[in-house]
C-alpha cells in the first residue's frame, strides 16, 4: 500500500519548523517497516495565506491522498479545504487550529499551553506580584489563543497584576529589546510571561539588569536554553509545544487513510474538530530529566514528543 501526503508549511524562519518537518519525514519513513509506503510532498516557504492556498490547490490538482498543514490562518482555508474534501482528500491541520468542518486538528491546545505556564508562574510567585507579558505577532491566531490562556489564569488570581503586554513578533532580539524597555520603566516586575522564541532574549535582558534572582520567567524548550537554565540557575518553567505535532498528525493521517474510523468522542476544541495532544511542562523538578532526554542533540533542538503509531491508534475504533 502507498500514500502520497502533502505537507504545507507557511513559515520557514525557525528551527522549530524545520524540526517539525524532519520529524514528520522520519515518521513517514518509519511506516515502511509496516509495509506502507508514505511519500511526502513538502511545500515549505515563507508565504502568506494566499501562498498556502496555492499549495493546497496544487496538492488537490496533483491528487494527493492527504494534506497536512501548519496553517497561517484559522479560517481562511474553509473553502479550499471544502474543495479538498470534495476531491476525497483527508485534511489535517497541526500546530494551529482551523475552523473548517472538512479538516481535523491534531496538535496541542494553545490556550492550555499558555494556561499551564501561566499557572506555573503564578505558583512560583506565590500568587502575588506584578507580571508583564511579551507576545508574538499580534493578530496571529495561535498568539491570540495564548493571550486568552494566560489572561484567564492571571484574572483568576487576584494577587497578580498584569502591568502591561507587548509584542516582539517571536523574534529573539526584539524580545530582548522589549524586556530591556520593560525593565527600565517598570522597576517592580516579579514575573515575566514570555512566549517561546523570545524567552532566551528576555532572560538575557534580565541578566544584564542583574535581576536573575528576583524575576521568574517562562522559558524555552531549546536544548541550549535548558543548558543555560541549569548552569545559571534560572527561575523558569516552560510548557512544551513539541515540534513532533506534525509527525503525530501524520500517524493519525495514515491510520485514517488505512480506513480506520475515529472513535466518537475524540474530537473537541473550539471548532469541535480537534484532537488535543498532551502538553508536558518543564520546571526545575524535571529539568535534569528533560536535558538527559535531549542528550547528544544540537543546541537548536527543541524538546519534542510525538504520538507513536500505537498511541495514535487509541483515537480510532
Amino acid at each position: 500500500q502507498s500514500y502520497t501526503i502533502g505537507l504545507s508549511n507557511g513559515f520557514v524562519g525557525s528551527e522549530w519548523r524545520t524540526q517539525m518537518i524532519d520529524e514528520a519525514q522520519a515518521a513517514a519513513d518509519a511506516w515502511a517497516e509496516r509495509g506502507i509506503e508514505v511519500e511526502l510532498v513538502i511545500q515549505s516557504a515563507d508565504t502568506d495565506v494566499q501562498g498556502q492556498i496555492g499549495h493546497i490547490r496544487n496538492f488537490i490538482n496533483q491528487g494527493v491522498d492527504a494534506i497536512i498543514i501548519n496553517p497561517n490562518s484559522p479560517t481562511a482555508f474553509d473553502p479550499v479545504f471544502a474543495q479538498a474534501a470534495e476531491a476525497g482528500i483527508l485534511v489535517i491541520a497541526t500546530d494551529a487550529e482551523v475552523s473548517s468542518p472538512d479538516a481535523i486538528y491534531v496538535g496541542i491546545d494553545q490556550t492550555d499551553w499558555a494556561r499551564k505556564s501561566a499557572q506555573w508562574l503564578v505558583d512560583e510567585m506565590g500568587g502575588e506580584g506584578n507580571v508583564v507579558a511579551i507576545n508574538g505577532v499580534a493578530g496571529n491566531p495561535a498568539n491570540e489563543m495564548r493571550v486568552a490562556g494566560y489572561r484567564e489564569v492571571f484574572e483568576a488570581n487576584p494577587g497578580i497584576t498584569l502591568l502591561t503586554e507587548t509584542n516582539a513578533n517571536w523574534d529573539q532580539a526584539q524580545g530582548q529589546q522589549a524586556m530591556q524597555n520593560l525593565l527600565a520603566t517598570y522597576p517592580d516586575i516579579d514575573g515575566v510571561w514570555v512566549q517561546d522564541g523570545m524567552a532566551a532574549g528576555a532572560f538575557r535582558a534580565i541578566e544584564a539588569a542583574g535581576k536573575t534572582a528576583d524575576i521568574a520567567a517562562t522559558g524555552e524548550i531549546r536544548k541550549d536554553f535548558l543548558d543555560v537554565w541549569a548552569s545559571d540557575g534560572l527561575t523558569s518553567g516552560a510548557s512544551v509545544n513539541p515540534p513532533g505535532v506534525m509527525a503525530s498528525a501524520l500517524n493519525v493521517a495514515v491510520l485514517r487513510l488505512e480506513g480506520r474510523e475515529f472513535k466518537d468522542d475524540v474530537f473537541g476544541g473550539v471548532y469541535g474538530n480537534a484532537i488535543y495532544l498532551p502538553i508536558p511542562l518543564v520546571t526545575a523538578d524535571n529539568l535534569e530529566e528533560t536535558r538527559a532526554g535531549a542528550e547528544g542533540q544540537p543546541g537548536y533542538y527543541s524538546v519534542s514528543t510525538s504520538l507513536t503509531v500505537e498511541e495514535a491508534e487509541e483515537f480510532f475504533q
Binding site: N9, V12, I21, V41, I42, Q43, S44, A45, D46, T47, D48, V49, Q50, G51, I53, G54, H55, R57, N58, I60, N61, Q62, N72, S73, P74, T75, A76, F77, D78, P79, V80, Q83, S99, V137, A138, G139, N140, P141, N143, E144
Partner: protein, 315 residues
C-alpha cells in the same frame, strides 16, 4: 540584437509574455493535467489577487511614485468587508453593502496616500510604509484576529460560475477591460507625463497633484478588488492578510517592463508579470525540489527573470 531591442521598445511586455509562455510549457511538462479547465481555473484563482494589486501598483509607478501600503490596504478592506457583512446579517443586501464598504475603504486609503504624497509632498517610499503600518493597525482594530466567516453565498459565487463561465474568469476579463479603458483615457498620458518629467507636466498645465492622487486611488481601488477576491477565496476575515503583496506587486510591475522611475510601461505588462510570478511558484511546486531549496530556487528564478527582462528591454 539591436534590431530586436528596437522593435521591443515600448512593448517590453512581449518579453514578459515570452517568459510566461516558457514557464507555462515547463509547468505543462511537469503537470500534465494543467490544461484541464478545473486546474486552469484553480490557478487563475490563486494568481488573481496579485494580478489586481499589480495593475493598481502600475499606475502609481507610472506616475513616478510607489505604494508599499497595498498589502495593508488589502487586509483592511478584507476585515471591513467581512465586518460589515457580519453586522448586516449576511443577506444579499448586506453582502453588497460590505463590498461597497470595502471598495470605499480602498479608495479612502488611496486618497489618504495621495494627499500626503502629492499635496503635502511627502516621500512616497517612507510615507506608504508608514501609512501601511497605520492601515495594518486599523485592520487589527476592526478585527483583532482571523475569523468572521462570510456567508456561503459570497464565496460560492466567487468559486462558482456566472452564466456558465467561472467568476474568476469574469473578473480577469473585467481587469483586462479596465486596463483597456484606462489606457484610452487622457488620464494615462497625463499620468505618464507626470511620472516621466514632473516639472514638464506641471509647466504644461497638467494638474499634477490630482493626477498623482488619482493614481493612488486606482491603486487603492485595485487593492480593494484584490481583497474582495481574497475574501471570496478565504471566506473569512484576516487582519494579517496580504503582507507579501507590496513587494510582489512591485516585482510583477518591473517584470512587466514598467520602469520604476516612472513614465514608461503598461498595466498589461504587470498583469503578465504577476502571472509569471504565479507560474514560477507553480513550477517550483511541481519540480519536486527539496523543501530547503525551494526558497532559493524561487529567488534565483525571480532574479533571473527580472534581470533578463531589464536586459532585453533596456535602452
Amino acid at each position: 540584437m539591436s534590431a530586436l531591442r528596437d522593435s521591443l521598445r515600448g512593448r517590453v511586455w512581449l518579453v514578459t509574455l515570452a517568459a510566461l509562455v516558457t514557464l507555462f510549457l515547463v509547468n505543462l511538462a511537469l503537470q500534465p493535467n494543467l490544461l484541464t479547465p478545473n486546474v486552469l481555473k484553480s490557478n487563475l484563482t490563486v494568481f488573481l489577487p496579485l494580478v489586481l494589486v499589480a495593475i493598481g501598483q502600475t499606475y502609481v509607478i507610472l506616475g513616478g511614485d510607489i505604494d508599499l501600503s497595498v498589502g495593508s490596504i488589502v487586509a483592511l478592506v478584507n476585515v471591513v468587508t467581512v465586518s460589515v457583512i457580519a453586522m448586516t446579517g449576511g443577506e444579499t443586501g448586506g453582502i453588497l453593502l460590505g463590498i461597497a464598504a470595502g471598495i470605499l475603504t480602498g479608495l479612502a486609503c488611496g486618497l489618504f496616500n495621495g494627499v500626503l504624497i502629492a499635496i503635502l509632498r511627502f516621500q512616497p517610499i517612507v510615507t506608504t510604509f508608514a501609512t501601511g503600518i497605520i492601515f495594518g493597525g486599523l485592520a487589527l482594530r476592526v478585527l483583532p484576529t482571523a475569523g468572521l466567516p462570510v456567508p456561503a453565498g459570497y464565496w460560492r459565487t466567487y468559486a462558482g460560475n456566472v452564466l456558465g463561465i467561472p467568476t474568476v474568469l469574469w473578473i480577469f476579463v473585467f481587469a483586462l477591460l479596465a486596463i483597456a479603458f484606462i489606457a484610452r483615457r487622457p488620464f494615462l498620458t497625463h499620468l505618464m507625463a507626470t511620472g516621466g518629467l514632473r516639472t514638464a507636466a506641471f509647466q504644461t498645465g497638467l494638474r499634477v497633484g490630482p493626477i498623482r492622487i488619482g493614481a493612488y486611488m486606482l491603486s487603492g481601488l485595485f487593492s480593494a478588488f484584490a481583497a474582495l477576491c481574497l475574501t471570496g477565496e478565504t471566506a473569512s476575515g484576516d487582519p494579517l492578510m496580504g503582507r507579501l503583496l507590496a513587494l510582489s506587486s512591485i516585482s510583477a510591475v518591473v517584470l512587466g517592463g514598467t520602469a520604476l522611475a516612472g513614465g514608461r510601461g503598461s498595466a498589461f505588462g504587470s498583469l503578465l508579470g504577476a502571472l509569471v510570478i504565479g507560474m514560477i511558484s507553480n513550477v517550483i511546486f511541481f519540480a519536486a525540489i527539496p523543501f530547503e531549496y525551494q526558497t532559493l530556487t524561487t529567488g534565483l528564478i525571480t532574479l533571473l527573470a527580472l534581470a533578463g527582462g531589464v536586459l532585453v528591454s533596456r535602452r
